[in-house]
């Protein structure tokens, strides 16, 4: 495709802001962790490798930003358990459920603000403290999918106990599992597996919550090099009062080999309470998960042997992020379990409560609530097990999906709990039913392990990093266009087709069951819209996209929606679940899940022809194209109104349509904005997302002039 098309396309792509990704440009530390750095000595992957691997990433979410359909990790719905593993899991589910139904008393735990001693003992004997510890160290050696299933049971019954277990094994000693040296593992894992020692994850400080890189706890090396001296304070540490082993993150001086200068880098340490100098504060009084022990921790000249460094000197930030990343699927699974319990409670109430002469589940208002709750539960469950299966299969890129599942799961669970109380009415409000406790327990899930707000920024920025890398790749190809004709042709064709609303050939139809083709169609459209928008945003803002949090949040919300749509298409289609089959409920659920985001994305508006010239904008049949002339005239000679003689001139109207409210312009478009070639039939005449609102596409529902 030579000639005009190519040239136009090249001009479209040429303007890529320099320095994107190449320098420190982050406003959030989460972003800092993932965007490539130059000239630093962290243990993160070297920049060029990161860029290349993001392009080649099989992750669905990364592909979304690039306008690609990376279906491998999503279709077909992954199923990783062998016959034997499934059998084992089935055997484990029984005793664990029985324990939680018969022995654990969540009301007591909540009232006492601790897990009852008998229950704690029973849990340790049950083996619940070492689910993922390898068999040779006395654990159960479960993989992620099996663990997710068990966590689902725990989440269904008691989230306070869930957090106690999760803080211990999902994050507390996960670092040891992921980064521990064999001597470290041999020393600590056996006792951790039986619950003889409880573990805790110590990152948060009074001054550092989301901004994890700014922690002030310090570890100073001894002159002989055989130990470190740890000083500092941590707050809100789960299991703080119970734990014997702490994974503590502290700033350490790290000498850069090349320059010889010393910088402060975070390092992870395995600290035993027995080292001396470790004290904890009183148990915090909380809104929810009261059974979980949360305390502050003080480290006062604690001597930590050098062999207790975890993950290498200076590798602490990466260790922290990977631990949290690795544990996120567990959160989604727990949320799915909680929602299952809530649904059961809601259904039990709705099917027995009689009002207005009928059981209330016959009424549409209640049915709608139950349907929405079921939908949210289904999506969360599907996401949780898809991600755990991806991890078990060895797929290396699941970070964005894991973050998405945590955001979705925590917010869905909150909504489901809320609706459950609503369905139960006054009964739901009473402590006796237990649902109010679940609501209180759920609130924290939107906050800890990465607040949903930070994770949204992470999802958006991580995706943009991939897109930036791709654009850089194209830029590189542009330096040698003749040698890279294939690349360029492909890229340009795709973009032009997308912009012309012709679709760049992404198709899900062959991946989903025929019954779900509408959902697949809607998902395809959303994918196209998403990619177009993402690219336009990145081209507009360049490296300053990092500061555009309004846009980033919305991009993340869209990404979450699209991933949910894909997941919910995959699960019912999958033939690997012969027992469950494909129920009508699932198909309807898919419909319900896909339709919302598609509608919100404007998919019903059909081809994404965001043409500013309203002559060509497709006319929506329900919106009047002309607004009726107003019959209101300003009453010139009305007595009592200021006339020309009065100092105040009669204003024609003081209302002006706020075209560009002063002071609210975001960024000025730089002088060298690409000029679109005029008169080319396939290229819209103005860039879609122009800050000049004259050209901003007009939302069909907002009148352009007041009537």
């Amino acid at each position: 495709m030579a000639g005009l098309g190519m040239g136009a396309g090249l001009r479209l792509l040429r303007r890529i802001p320099p320095g994107f990704g190449g320098s420190r440009l982050q406003s959030t530390q989460e972003a800092q962790a993932v965007l490539p750095k130059t000239g630093t000595t962290t243990a993160t992957a070297a920049p060029p490798k990161a860029q290349r691997s993001l392009e080649e990433s099989k992750s669905f979410a990364v592909g979304m930003f690039l306008g690609r359909l990376n279906a491998e990790q999503v279709f077909p719905y992954p199923s990783v358990l062998t016959e034997e593993q499934e059998q084992t899991l089935r055997e484990l589910v029984g005793p664990l459920s029985r324990f939680f139904e018969e022995v654990n008393n969540p009301f007591k735990n909540d009232a006492l603000e601790k897990v009852e001693d008998e229950t704690m003992k029973g849990l340790k004997e049950l083996g619940a403290f070492g689910l993922q510890v390898p068999l040779e160290f006395g654990g159960l050696g479960l993989n992620n999918t099996q663990y997710a299933r068990l966590v689902q049971i725990v989440g269904q019954h008691d989230l306070g106990v869930g957090i106690t277990l999760g803080a211990h094994q999902s994050i507390g000693f996960k670092g040891l599992l992921l980064y521990g040296t064999p001597p470290q593992k041999e020393k600590y894992l056996p006792r951790l597996a039986t619950g003889e020692w409880v573990a805790a994850f110590c990152l948060t400080e009074p001054g550092s919550g989301s901004d994890a890189a700014s922690i002030r706890t310090r570890a100073t090396p001894s002159p002989c090099g055989s130990f470190w001296t740890l000083d500092g304070e941590k707050i809100w540490i789960s299991n703080g009062g119970l734990a014997e082993l702490f994974t503590v993150f502290a700033q350490t001086p790290v000498r850069d080999e090349r320059s010889g200068e010393s910088r402060e880098r975070i390092t992870a340490f395995l600290v035993e309470r027995g080292f001396g100098g470790v004290t904890h504060g009183p148990s915090e009084k909380k809104l929810g998960i009261r059974a979980s022990n949360t305390t502050s921790l003080h480290f006062d000249s604690v001597r930590v042997p050098a062999q207790n460094v975890l993950g290498g000197l200076g590798g602490g930030f990466k260790v922290a992020m990977n631990i949290l990343n690795n544990g996120r699927f567990g959160m989604a699974a727990a949320m799915a379990g909680t929602m299952r319990g809530l649904l059961q409670a809601a259904v039990a109430h709705a099917s027995t409560r009689t009002q207005f002469g009928a059981k209330i589940h016959k009424f549409g208002a209640i049915q709608e609530k139950l349907a929405r709750m079921a939908l949210l539960h289904y999506v969360t469950e599907s996401m949780a097990f898809m991600i755990s299966a991806n991890m078990d299969r060895g797929d290396p890129d699941f970070q964005i999906e894991a973050a998405i599942s945590k955001i979705f799961g925590s917010e869905a669970a909150w909504a489901v709990a809320d609706e459950c109380i609503q369905i139960m009415g006054g009964m739901g409000f009473m402590q006796e039913q237990g649902v109010e406790r679940v609501l209180r327990d759920l609130r924290i899930f939107r906050i800890f392990e990465g607040t949903n707000d930070i994770l949204r920024l992470f999802v958006a920025l991580q995706g943009f990093q991939g897109l930036g890398a791709q654009l850089r790749g194209v830029q590189a190809a542009l330096r040698d266009p003749l040698g890279n004709v294939g690349v360029l042709t492909g890229e340009v064709t795709r973009r032009l087709r997308r912009k012309a609303g012709l679709g760049s050939g992404l198709s899900l139809q062959h991946l989903v069951h025929p019954e779900l083709k509408d959902g697949a169609q809607q998902t395809q459209q959303c994918l196209e819209l998403f990619a177009t928008t993402a690219e336009a945003l990145l081209l507009k803002h360049g490296k300053r996209i990092v500061e555009e949090q309004f846009a980033l949040k919305r991009v993340a919300d869209a990404a979450i929606d699209v991933y949910a749509m894909a997941v919910v298409l995959s699960r019912p289609t999958s033939a690997s679940w012969p027992r469950c089959g494909r129920s009508r409920t699932e198909t309807s659920g898919t419909f319900g899940t896909c339709r919302g985001p598609w509608w919100r994305a404007g998919g019903w508006w059909c081809p994404p022809r965001w043409d500013s010239d309203s002559k060509n904008t497709p006319k929506h049949p329900k919106i009047p194209q002309k607004y009726p002339k107003t019959t209101l005239k300003h009453p010139k000679n009305h007595p009592g109104l200021p006339t020309a003689e009065t100092p105040q001139n009669t204003p024609k109207t003081s209302l002006k349509h706020p075209k560009t409210p002063p002071g609210l312009l975001t960024t000025k478009t730089p002088q060298n904005t690409p000029k679109y070639p005029k008169n080319h039939p396939k290229i819209p005449q103005k860039p879609p997302w122009d800050s000049d609102s004259r050209n901003t596409p007009k939302h069909p529902k907002i009148p352009q002039k007041p009537p």
């Binding site: 055997e91 005793p95 664990l96 029985r98 049950l126």
Partner: protein, 254 residues
């Protein structure tokens, strides 16, 4: 410490918490897709055997069942609770497995394994026969202690406290003996998750039922019909004893 082997017989039954329904056809109970588990009385018997081994009075606990392949799951649970090895006397699907057949199979196993003690649950919660232990003792010609609520081993004998209608009866039986466990014998432990994992390594032997001499012919008992009890009808309040008697006579009850 005697090389005392205990044989425990167990049965896979529909879980006690499940609401039982009549299968279409009216000739059997719905078992497809229904949750099954280890018979509670068999669990108590197994727990007793494991406690004996832990106390040192017994050396080995072998658990056995007569059933289809699905019973392997039950045996695994039993192994997770502490049995040392398991034997499945495998029946074809749909073959008869009443008390007589089970007793014949267990008798054959007893002759093979030479246990000093056979522990069974007093009855299964699906058929409530309360016959297997007794028939087994008769076939083997061993002493029996049924409805045991306390068991203590002595050299060469076992002292059993039985729950009978009149109260508690204590017997001393010479070994080898057959005992059946009643409710108050002990409280079974929860199978811990690590034990479930360890149970995978314990030996589970499958023996065709015919090898043990289980008669393959048609069952001697034929179930003619099974129906759910009629739904409870509304009650009626009466004013006086006379009208109550009148109504009862009218309904043909007296």
């Amino acid at each position: 410490m005697a090389a005392l082997r205990v044989l425990v017989g167990v049965k896979r039954v529909i879980d006690f918490a499940v609401k039982v329904r009549v299968a279409p056809g009216g000739a059997a109970v719905q078992t497809q897709g229904v949750k099954h588990s280890l018979n509670p009385f068999c669990e108590i018997a197994l727990e007793e055997a494991v406690r004996l081994r832990e106390a040192g009075a017994a050396a080995e606990v072998v658990v056995a069942t007569l059933g289809t392949k699905a019973s392997q799951e039950t045996l695994r649970t039993a192994l997770a609770m502490g049995a040392d090895r398991a034997v499945l006397a495998e029946l074809a699907e749909g073959a008869a497995a009443g008390p007589r057949e089970v007793a014949v199979a267990l008798a054959a196993l007893a002759r093979r394994l030479q246990p000093q003690l056979v522990l069974l649950g007093k009855q299964a919660i699906d058929d409530d026969c309360n016959q297997t232990g007794q028939i087994l003792a008769a076939i083997l010609d061993w002493p029996q202690g049924t409805f045991a609520s306390r068991v203590s081993l002595e050299p060469g004998a076992v002292q059993v406290q039985r729950e009978v209608d009149g109260g508690l009866e204590t017997l001393r039986l010479r070994l080898p003996a057959v005992l059946t466990a009643d409710l108050r014998l002990n409280e079974p432990r929860y199978a811990t998750l690590p034990n479930i994992m360890k149970a995978k390594k314990k030996p589970l032997e499958v023996v065709p039922a015919a090898d043990l001499g289980v008669p393959a012919g048609p069952p001697r008992l034929r179930l003619l019909q099974l129906q759910e009890p009629p739904p409870r009808a509304g009650g009626e309040k009466v004013e006086s004893v006379e009208s109550l008697l009148g109504k009862l006579r009218h309904a043909g009850r007296i």
